[in-house]
Symmetry: D2
Subunit: 361 residues, 4 copies
């Protein structure tokens, strides 16, 4: 029920409960603990622009409960939380027995026999991703000590695809537009499409690409704990993710082996791959090139537009129009969440490989 | 390092070692244990046709070491293996220090400092999937007691996509052609494309779709152990899988929320969804509709065609032409493997949900 | 790093940090959640009497962060904490580099290279057991729905052994004296001995027996997850526990097989055992008789008496006299902690056996 | 269901099945793999002397299925087994519905609804400990690379206690007598008592002490994965173990804190403890002194002497006289098993601490 084997992260909390949070077991002692960085990461996850995000605005700040002393991790479990402040559950009372199409409402109601926390989607809400960012930010702190960078960006929204960009363009451009797309020309089109969806009371999805640079060779424990499998499982824990691919991904089905095999050569006395079609992972373990993965985010299920549902009590068809605060497109906000999940998995496998011990020095 | 939490499967074995095998912990006692069925499943995984499969032919039969008595499971760990008989490692001596592009050879060599079993790819070989099928066959026996069916079929090979088919067509047609495609017209084109690749000493990949029918509501344990995440992790354990998606998958990025949300209605007094765009899973838990997932299989990396690599000893560039027995397209053989992994995950979550206890009755 | 497989408990917090707490994954939904009961259990763990307990007095009350709605568990992770209020860390600054004999100070300093939270013993403090009681109280709520009772009592302190008592005497008498001993005559002697230790600035240990009644047959998953092994591991997580035994325990080494084997007979049409020398567990699984285990608690290591230690900075021998608040004998306070750990393990195995499902009804 | 987190051992097999075996995940690559040593360890576990051991004699030899190439571990899972050769199940047919007092027969029958492998006790038989020795022997190979020694000896049999001996005496003397007791005078008395029990068709138990030398500081992950807890859980997986204690163990209940606290001093510029009452573990983590633990072994339950039981079919009382091959006292044979379990746990925690990486060099 947790992420990781040696860097183990457990999550808790509901959308309209007291808080959402994370516990990390296995974080090395002696890590400089930068609360300010965590808060910045939380800010990256908060609603970006009123035009695409009608969601509630929370001034999210981390509260650390354990595992840190005098600015350094102690080696003990780190418990952190973000309080829920801007909560109004009244709208959900009405929805309680009207499951929203595309949402977890219905199966959760059946699975937990109605005892589940229905307010704001409970644990199924995107709010849980604030807890993911807490743990992800700590993972990033660990990765920084190894000079590893994890960066995500938007590559598709509502059918509009960005043109591929170099890592420098990605680093530079994603902060310059509200959809966090490195292809600036396309970013405008994406924003336009989102606005249109908003006007229609509709929503759109997209694709996020995540790149991890400076990865040591050997991360991953096949046959089962492949690096791909562990990253994928972590990404599917993000509500709305419905697909994950690495390197060429589904395009591997449209190409010959001789075209996609990454051939080896020697550069400056070192073995390198000429291409990175494999997305940095061969046989389930990292091979030294950047890890490249993509996750598809489905359109937010909560819509102002009327949708058909069934009243769970009367068992009659009815219409639902969701009035709460919801994002038209969560793709840009999911960027730091994707980075967080990838970072958590990387730290776990780095510790497994013995590259980091019980104490960072 | 194992699959599952309550139905726990651990794998072992190498391509050119003694055998490959699986241990299952948590299989309920009292399950009628059908060895013949396991052998049939192994046969489905064996090379199908000499035209698309130049791979070694092994008469695979299960050997049961523990956990079964008088034709029924005892509740104790079930250990099973398939012996490797048709093994010729000589060709691999030559390849030992010439990593094959697209294969695990290079990162495995670095990770294990050259101690890894290089013969036939060792544990990174597709041979390990025979062990997956052993466990998957047992999982299917359990699923049968609940009337759950798991069926996979080929939907794309080398860029050629099959037209969508109904479940009846799938059940009927996949046995009628060597690519196991339910769209009979397209199957011919796929086979043609594979033949062409074979002539060129090349290889091709494809996409497999897996459908699970009659699924109870409530499988999956969010936030982390989502049904999607657990299935994806299991599928990524299959060598060559580079992407996994559910329902509309990556097409969710190209559609409006109002179009893809599966609306609810009442049919014969029961709540049903009119569509199944979500692929049977909402919020990480099964919602009652069939589970639909797809995995992309990359082209086999081992090619007759010459490819560039580097000699790990001399650190000089060299050319590699792989002469061993390899499939031009492993997609059809991967069908029972995909079914196996999905079945294992389903049984695990079914036990978690309490639908099956320690003893089947 | 957690307790349990299906009822999974993770702990966090330090003695002088913000709080100590627990997260429970896998608690069934629909459990009536009684916060008052949790607070009563915390009170049972708080210092009992100034004469034997000079420890800090905290008005411990549970704070629930997640997993409960309208008085019932929701099926989501339950996060709970107890805040640390009465904290004075000044005394520990002096001790920071003077490891207390018998305490974790020295190995923790080495393991974490001095980054560990030294204040009040950090995570190695007995304070963590307040978190154990939080989770244990929830486990007891679950056990009550099955009519299972877990009760612990003091059977030895400072070499003074209580005479065996029946379950009725135990239930009645343990509340009537501050050492929670069911043998009232002996209780006085124990108290006397503790007082003497206190006067000398010394400390004493003892033995706690825990009995679990109305246990279903079949709990435990041999060969590894035996019920004894899982209970023992949980009990060793209590600071100061140095030994655990079941049934006759170490006396099994002093008896013939024909004397200790619990023979079977028929009573009212049911199979019963005439004796319970095995302590309710045979072959690692519960056999229907009450579970009986004992844990030895070593004397509190922190003493007013001067002890020899070494200054970790100067590497010179020095004398330590611990002035903080410490118990002379923690045995009575450990009673609810022992019950908690046993209860947590029982619930985990009850869920494994399928006796409780995802929802309590 | 497995032992360990980073050195993970899974067991399988039954007493009268095909074989018993073990799979190790996480064994470092590059370990010189000494099959001969494994066979020697198996030999140490085999019946020692016809006078105290009437058990079946099996020429046990390890069969390695995976994970080893050219005499070195490869980093892949190591699967090993010992075949069962000398099997005669006929006697057990008679016992099938007559549960032996003190044995797992009855609760196993209930738990698995009669599907359990009853032949020879199935997975509950002491035969499973041959598999423990397989994994333990590999663990010892790893420990040798760190110069860590694990040695067990008999300290009590049938109420006769050995006088404490130094490590040199233990090393020297345990091979000189069939009870493996370092106190040679007492060994004779123990043997006498065993003979007497044999003549009476009875059985006796005893206590084994295990010592681990040259232990690094810092093994153990409190609060839950204490070194004591993990060792205890591993020892309770040995059939017949009913108690485990560390250092002074249950005698901690009979002593003052000032007497048992191990005080620190400086010796040759290093911090040392003057005594080792704690048994090498403080606060759940190793503190540098030898680890000292003891396990009590109950008398073998299978007796020639008539015992009362109940026929599970007729539900009537009956008499059972066990005629199969059984040990009168398994304590001496359990010595290498205890060493194995302690060794496995030590290697796991050594890898966790980062003292050994993915490859041994």
């Amino acid at each position: 029920m947790s992420l990781g084997k040696n860097f183990i992260v457990t999550f808790f909390g509901e959308s309209h409960g007291e808080c959402v949070g994370a516990i990390i077991y296995g974080c090395p002692a002696g890590l400089k603990f930068d609360e300010e960085f965590i808060n910045q990461e939380l800010k990256r996850r908060s609603p970006i622009d009123y035009m695409i995000s009608t969601s509630r605005v929370e001034e999210d700040n981390v509260k650390v409960f354990s595992g840190v002393l005098n600015g350094y991790t102690t080696g003990a479990p780190i418990c952190m939380a973000v309080y829920n402040r801007n909560v109004d559950s009244s709208v959900y009372e009405e929805l309680r027995f009207k499951p929203r199409p595309g949402h977890a409402d219905y199966p959760a109601y059946i699975k937990y026999a109605g005892f589940n926390d229905f307010r704001g989607g409970g644990i199924f809400s995107g709010r849980i991703t604030a807890a993911y960012v807490l743990a992800g930010a700590v993972a990033k702190m660990v990765l920084k000590t190894l000079n590893i960078e994890v960066i995500a960006h938007t590559v598709e929204i509502a059918g509009i695809k960005a043109k591929p960009q170099g890592i420098e363009e990605i680093r530079r451009n994603i902060h310059s537009n509200i959809v966090r797309c490195a292809d600036l020309d396309t970013a405008h089109l994406m924003i336009e499409r989102i606005r249109k969806a908003m006007e229609n009371g509709d929503s759109v999805g997209g694709v996020i690409e995540c790149i991890a640079l400076n990865i040591p060779i050997g991360l991953g424990d096949p046959p089962i704990d492949t690096l791909e499998g562990d990253i994928a499982k972590a990404l599917f824990a993000i509500p709305a993710v419905k697909g994950v691919e690495f390197g060429l991904g589904f395009d591997f089905a449209r190409i010959y082996g001789s075209e996609c095999n990454d051939q080896f050569t020697v550069l400056n006395g070192k073995i390198v791959m000429k291409t990175n079609n494999c997305g940095g992972i061969l046989g389930g373990i990292s091979c030294g090139t950047p890890i490249v993965c993509r996750a598809v985010i489905k359109p937010t299920p909560s819509l102002r537009k009327p949708q058909k549902t069934v009243d769970l009590i009367s068992m009659e068809e009815t219409i639902i129009e969701v009035k709460g605060r919801h994002d038209v497109c969560i793709v840009p906000r999911a960027i730091p969440v994707v980075e967080s999940m990838v970072s958590i998995v990387l730290v776990d496998h780095i510790i497994r490989l013995g590259l980091i011990k019980t104490v960072l020095k």
